[in-house]
């Protein structure tokens, strides 16, 4: 996804009249069919989510379905004050902390791995397929294995040890795959130029690669944070006695039948949207700054 962003400025196709979709003149009928399909997809994608955001603002009479009964913040207050809904505040805290730790590790490790994978080295295929394996393995099974492993070693499972590792086994493959896409668009000539000018390996990384790859690294961070913050299957058997937020939501789906469940959905989505907005915003900002300094 970041690769697409990075590609943005250069790939403007010249105007053409001979194409499936001519860039000038009338639209073919397929355009209207596919545009409707696309619109339907986007509505189906966002529609249900907006339903629960709206329903979370009902008053005390509110139920799980429409019609909306009154307007209030009752269920948000309920969420953070009621004991029966569980430890929402604590799990929220833990999830944010865990996501920050996972993000930092994911960015650093994926960046280094991205550098490593640029050249073939003996055994690189093994590492690559280990990563793909970690990505496609059923999360619950890996989580159970990690839990049993900790048990066998006599270690206590907790969100900052076993769950951290279990989440990294999920975020790192994504991070490295994004780094692949980012690296494939990095022109190695810049790095060569740095070496020619007498830069050390560390200087070329710090002064050339990191600034050039900054938008891609932000994208990796976005993946790291959101995938950890929403991670569920791998944390289930590894988080120990204290829940992370998705685990809290999971237990709520099984026993809470009030709109506080929706209120929690609204709160966690707002956090996600803030993180997504900040990441995409900073990518655009970096691109813009680069564009203006290149012209100046």
């Amino acid at each position: 996804m970041s690769a697409v962003l990075a590609e943005m400025p250069e790939a403007v196709a010249p105007a053409t009249t001979k194409a499936i979709a001519p860039s000038k003149g009338g639209r073919p009928w397929t355009f209207y069919v596919l545009a409707s399909l696309f619109a339907a997809y986007v509505i189906a994608l966002y529609g249900p989510m907006f339903c629960i955001y709206i329903l979370s603002f009902q008053d005390i009479r509110g139920g799980l379905v429409f019609p909306m009964k009154g307007h209030s913040l009752h269920w948000f207050v309920d969420l953070f004050t009621q004991v029966r809904t569980g430890d929402v505040k604590g799990s929220f805290d833990r999830s944010i902390k865990l996501a920050v730790i996972v993000t930092v590790i994911t960015v650093v490790v994926s960046f280094l791995a991205g550098l490593g994978f640029r050249k073939r080295f003996r055994g690189d295929t093994v590492v690559f397929y280990m990563m793909i394996g970690s990505l496609v393995a059923p999360g619950l099974v890996l989580g159970l294995g990690t839990g049993l492993l900790f048990q066998a070693l006599g270690l206590n499972a907790s969100w900052y040890s076993s769950a951290l590792g279990a989440q990294l086994s999920w975020t790192l493959p994504f991070g490295v795959l994004v780094m692949f896409a980012v690296m494939s668009r990095f022109n190695h000539v810049w790095e060569e130029a740095a070496y020619d000018l007498g830069a050390s390996r560390w200087q070329s990384i710090r002064l050339v690669m990191i600034p050039v790859l900054a938008p891609g690294l932000v994208a990796v961070a976005l993946f790291g944070f959101t995938l950890s913050y929403d991670e569920f299957a791998r944390s289930l058997q590894t988080a120990g006695s204290l829940n992370t937020l998705p685990l809290e939501i999971w237990s709520m789906t099984l026993n809470v039948t009030s709109p506080s469940l929706y209120a929690l959905g609204t709160v966690t989505t707002i956090v996600s949207f803030i993180v997504i907005g900040a990441s995409l915003g900073s990518i655009v900002l970096i691109q813009k700054k680069r564009g203006s300094s290149a012209k100046g």
């Binding site: 499936i20 997809y41 989510m49 429409f66 049993l148 060569e192 939501i249």
Partner: protein, 296 residues
């Protein structure tokens, strides 16, 4: 792979450098992917006292039990049904959404914007997106209200929520993005001149689709398929929540086994599932070199 910036390094030194760069990745994947898998494999051969206690040893009892149970076949059939249905729907929707964005949207910036619009929900909580179907599909949900309102039905449809239909809807809702992104990426690389040439040579719309677009999107389709198949086959919470307990999949049965501390049976079933998954993924990987594809 790009040519290395420092080709003067000897092969052994460049091997060492490669391993140094990927060593942090390996240091996470070995304890949190390889070791847990081995633990599960080992546990599948252990005996149990039925109360969560494991006796180290080597017995095939668990495998015999899993393979002899009629339930196993039922679970696999259910899982395969969900996988195939989800795969077909995500593929068709994902392919045409990507096609629309790449070939029909004239403004590059708009195409990127619409693409991001599709990807944003990927970065929000899956559980929340799943439960957000409740106010729509429920017995008193919007769809039933609307159908009753226009008089199509007299009784609310019960089949909408807590059914196999709801499970497939939730999967398609969550996973279509995994088709859109890789297919979009491979389609965006198709040279528009190729299509102009085909039109000049008298190709019809259908010919272009059949002979150019589909073959050249093959790697994207393969990548998307790997994601969708591995996630659906490894999932349990969508099945558990959206079927209302009416359906089960291989992993949701695994979850129940773990719940009642039947670790060896659960482990044996997990090992079998992993073997099936590995077989499917390697079959797909034979048709496309994803490493080549991703790093290109």
């Amino acid at each position: 792979m790009q040519p290395s910036p420092s080709q003067n390094l000897s092969p052994s030194r460049s091997n060492l450098a490669g391993w140094l760069y990927v060593s942090p990745l390996v240091l996470v994947l070995v304890p949190f992917f390889v070791a847990p898998i081995l633990v599960v494999l080992a546990a599948s051969f252990f005996a149990t006292d039925g109360f969560g206690g494991l006796t180290p040893g080597f017995t095939l009892v668990s495998y015999v039990e899993v393979l002899h149970s009629a339930l196993t076949l039922k679970l696999y059939l259910a899982t395969i049904k969900f996988t195939v249905l989800t795969w077909v729907f995500t593929l068709v929707i994902g392919f045409f959404v990507a096609y629309f964005l790449v070939f029909h949207v004239r403004n590059q910036l708009l195409a990127i914007g619409l693409f991001l619009l599709c990807t944003v929900p990927f970065w929000t909580s899956n559980i929340i997106r799943m439960i957000s179907w409740i106010p729509l599909l429920g017995k008193e949900g919007l769809i039933n209200q609307a159908l009753l309102g226009i008089g199509v039905i007299r009784q609310p449809l019960e089949v909408l929520l807590f059914s196999d239909l709801a499970v497939v809807i939730a999967y398609v809702h969550q996973l279509t993005i995994f088709m859109i992104v890789p297919i979009f990426n491979s389609m965006a690389r198709i040279d528009k001149k190729l299509i102009e040439a085909a039109i000049d040579a008298g190709a019809s719309r259908f010919d272009i689709m059949r002979l150019i677009v589909v073959p050249m999107s093959k790697s994207g389709i393969a990548l998307g398929t790997i994601f969708v198949v591995s996630i659906v086959m490894g999932d349990f919470f969508v099945v558990k929540v959206m079927s209302g307990g009416g359906s089960a999949s291989v992993v949701s049965a695994f979850y129940e086994d773990v719940g009642v501390l039947q670790y060896p049976t659960a482990a044996a079933s997990a090992v079998l599932l992993t073997l099936v998954l590995v077989a499917i993924v390697s079959l797909i990987l034979r048709t496309v070199d994803i490493r080549q594809e991703i790093t290109r």
